[in-house]
């Protein structure tokens, strides 16, 4: 009798232990493997809080190419020197900037966000759909130093492509995203006209929403297209 009871207890104990351990590791996964909170050392103590938060510089004024290309540029030394050629030029913190400007050697910033090379990400489509930077990067204008705000996982990408209304934050003022008439209507019409007659490509999730819908100006991606859930949109 006593024997089988203690066996039972032991089994319950280890079951509980396994559940707790797995839950712990599962919750830590974002931080340990998916790099949330990754904040690499940078060659210059550049502060987004001062530039964007206090002085209201728009994100696109430095990261200009986010609007019209897949890649969002890190600004060149020249675009910093526009102001710092005069402003605080003698400050110690600006010194590396001066050296780089004189010697024509680029500053090597360490990158924070990264999608693995087997997948591709495109800033242009998201910015033109009026999705704000803070959806994916957090409120950078409050960060002294940029860190990775959230894990970049495939489930997150797909979730938002299915239900953008749950995830997307509409364009804010500080981002400088151009919101008037970006003429996406015609694009969607084209897609509807030509793609609805052929079978949806592999991997595309079909919903009953066929019309292009707008949520606070964000284009609803659930329209016939190459399909935001088609594997080859993000994978080569």
């Amino acid at each position: 009798m006593a024997d089988s009871k203690s066996v039972k207890n032991t089994i319950y104990f280890w079951l509980l232990w396994i559940i707790i351990t797995i839950a712990g590791f599962y919750l830590l996964y974002d931080y340990v493997i998916k790099n949330t909170g990754f904040m690499p050392a940078q060659p210059i103590q550049f502060s987004h809080k001062v530039h964007s938060g206090d002085f209201g510089m728009k994100c696109l004024s430095c990261h200009t190419s986010a609007e019209n290309s897949a890649y969002s540029e890190i600004p060149t030394t020249y675009s910093c020197m526009v102001c710092h050629i005069a402003l605080k030029n003698t400050s110690d913190l600006i010194k590396p900037l001066n050296e780089s400007f004189d010697s024509l050697k680029p500053i090597i910033w360490n990158r924070v966000y990264r999608v693995p090379d087997f997948a591709k990400f495109n800033h242009k489509v998201h910015i033109n759909s009026l999705i704000d930077c803070s959806t994916c990067h957090g409120e950078v204008e409050k960060m002294e130093k940029v860190y990775q705000f959230r894990p970049i996982t495939m489930s997150w990408c797909i979730d938002c492509h299915r239900y953008p209304e749950k995830y997307a934050i509409p364009a804010r003022d500080i981002s400088g995203i151009f919101s008037a008439d970006i003429n996406l209507d015609s694009l969607n019409l084209y897609k509807k006209k030509y793609y609805s007659i052929i079978n949806p490509p592999y991997g595309m999730w079909l919903s009953d929403v066929y019309e292009s819908e707008y949520l606070k100006n964000i284009v609803y991606p659930r329209v016939y297209s190459r399909g935001n859930e088609n594997c080859s949109v993000c994978h080569h």
């Binding site: 104990f13 509980l16 232990w17 707790i20 351990t21 839950a23 712990g24 590791f25 599962y26 919750l27 830590l28 974002d30 931080y31 340990v32 493997i33 790099n35 909170g37 990754f38 904040m39 690499p40 050392a41 206090d54 002085f55 209201g56 510089m57 728009k58 696109l60 004024s61 200009t64 890649y71 540029e73 890190i74 020249y78 675009s79 526009v82 102001c83 050629i85 005069a86 402003l87 605080k88 030029n89 003698t90 400050s91 090597i108 990264r114 693995p116 090379d117 087997f118 860190y147 400088g176 151009f178 919101s179 008037a180 008439d181």
Partner: protein
């Protein structure tokens, strides 16, 4: 006896793990780290391809962004070939292709708010935040106040000349053609004209 202690030791350890994980998850404690990401299995995460703004070992100057071949013309936009003081050529060559329609002005406004406001301020009067709000330590220089875009001189010069200033620069005013394409620059010219009209009305 030792087995029991070991058992409970493991239990306490994993409970602590869970508590820390939950606190992290709900943002009660913050965690930042500087070291490079772990990669358990780095399948095809790092491929030997050129990425923008990354170093490339293939070229002598180690830049992966390549410049266009000499004497080629870009498909969109064109290089501005005049320099600072060639005002007359600028007057003759630059013609504004845009009408000040609503959309063009909206674009101009967006571009002005994004790129010019820190110096020129929202109304173009030239008292933007980097002139008024900066606190300087001893011995440090501030930014000299930029020109008032609504002043008489700027009103009288032609559109072509303003476009020339935007494309080739003038003293401390930097050329913006490395960031803004031609259409955007012409839209800005229209928006500057609108600012000038607006400041008229207020007087």
């Amino acid at each position: 006896m030792i087995r029991t202690i070991f058992k409970w030791f493991l239990m306490v350890l994993s409970s602590l793990l869970l508590i820390v994980a939950i606190l992290l998850h709900f943002g009660v404690i913050k965690f930042y780290r500087e070291f490079q990401p772990f990669e358990i299995i780095a399948d095809m995460d790092n491929q030997i391809k050129s990425l923008p703004q990354k170093e490339s070992n293939f070229f002598v100057d180690s830049a992966s962004f390549r410049n266009p071949v000499e004497n080629t013309i870009p498909k969109i936009g064109s290089k501005y070939h005049l320099i600072d003081l060639e005002y007359e050529e600028a007057e003759n060559e630059n013609k504004n292709p845009l009408e000040p329609t609503e959309k063009v002005l909206a674009r101009g406004k967006n571009r002005f708010e994004t790129f010019c406001v820190p110096c020129h301020n929202h109304d173009g009067k030239g008292n933007g935040v980097i002139i008024t709000k900066v606190k300087l330590k001893e011995g440090e220089e501030g930014f000299p106040a930029p020109a008032n875009l609504t002043r008489e001189f700027t009103r009288t010069i032609s559109d072509a000349r303003i476009f020339h200033i935007l494309s080739a620069g003038q003293n401390l005013m930097f050329p913006v053609n490395y960031k803004l394409n031609e259409t955007d620059r012409w839209a800005l010219v229209h928006y500057i004209r609108k600012l000038q009209k607006d400041s008229n009305i207020k007087k």
